[in-house]
Amino acid sequence: MSFVARSPRFFGVVEALIDTGSPFTVLSTLDAMKMRLPIKSMRKGESVSLAGFRFFKHNVKNASFTFRTQGDESISFEVKDLGILVPTKIDKKTLRDVEPIPSIIGNDFLEDHNLALFFNPSQKITYLEEVRLDT
């Protein structure tokens, strides 16, 4: 799923995986580095384990994701607590090893914005749909 991510600290395009098993929404180390975030000074936050690597989940406030709709409009959603995946150990080898780990849209984002995931792998169709709640 592709979108534009922005906050007062970064701005750029992101290709993320939707992981319904993840409670968090996070930007990968690769996406953080390509947006020139100073990851070496961001080694703080909750510790998380992903794909066999340990990361700090450095939280960023006031971020938003902008998606393109089927009708070629743009739609933006606030992200209350966006985590940046910062390896606990930063050296050349670790950075190379974590490069393939993608950014993740987790359940928190889907729940916060009443988004449902449609996924049909045999026809390669995936999209998010806003669910209108009747009150």
Partner: protein
């Protein structure tokens, strides 16, 4: 950035993402490397992201608005 420009960026990104998925098998020749894609072309290939970012800077490209993908090394699959 204006909404119109933002939508154009998103459309381009969607197209690049589709291109990447359609050509994923061919991209296996870049296993263990990091690539940058722009308008259906690979514009940079390097051993690491740091080297790729330096290469893109030399080419006056803004990495923040490019699709950058690390192709996992052979025989490694990531299960998150």
């Amino acid at each position: 950035m204006e909404n119109k420009e933002l939508r154009a960026r998103l459309e381009k990104l969607d197209q690049e993402s589709i291109w990447l998925n359609e050509h994923y098998d061919e991209l296996q020749r870049f296993q263990g490397k990091v690539i940058a894609v722009k308008e259906g072309k690979i514009i940079a290939v390097q051993e690491s992201l740091e080297e790729l970012l330096e290469d893109l800077e030399r080419k006056n490209e803004d990495p923040a608005f490019l699709l950058i993908q690390a192709i996992p090394p052979e025989n490694i699959a990531f299960i998150l």
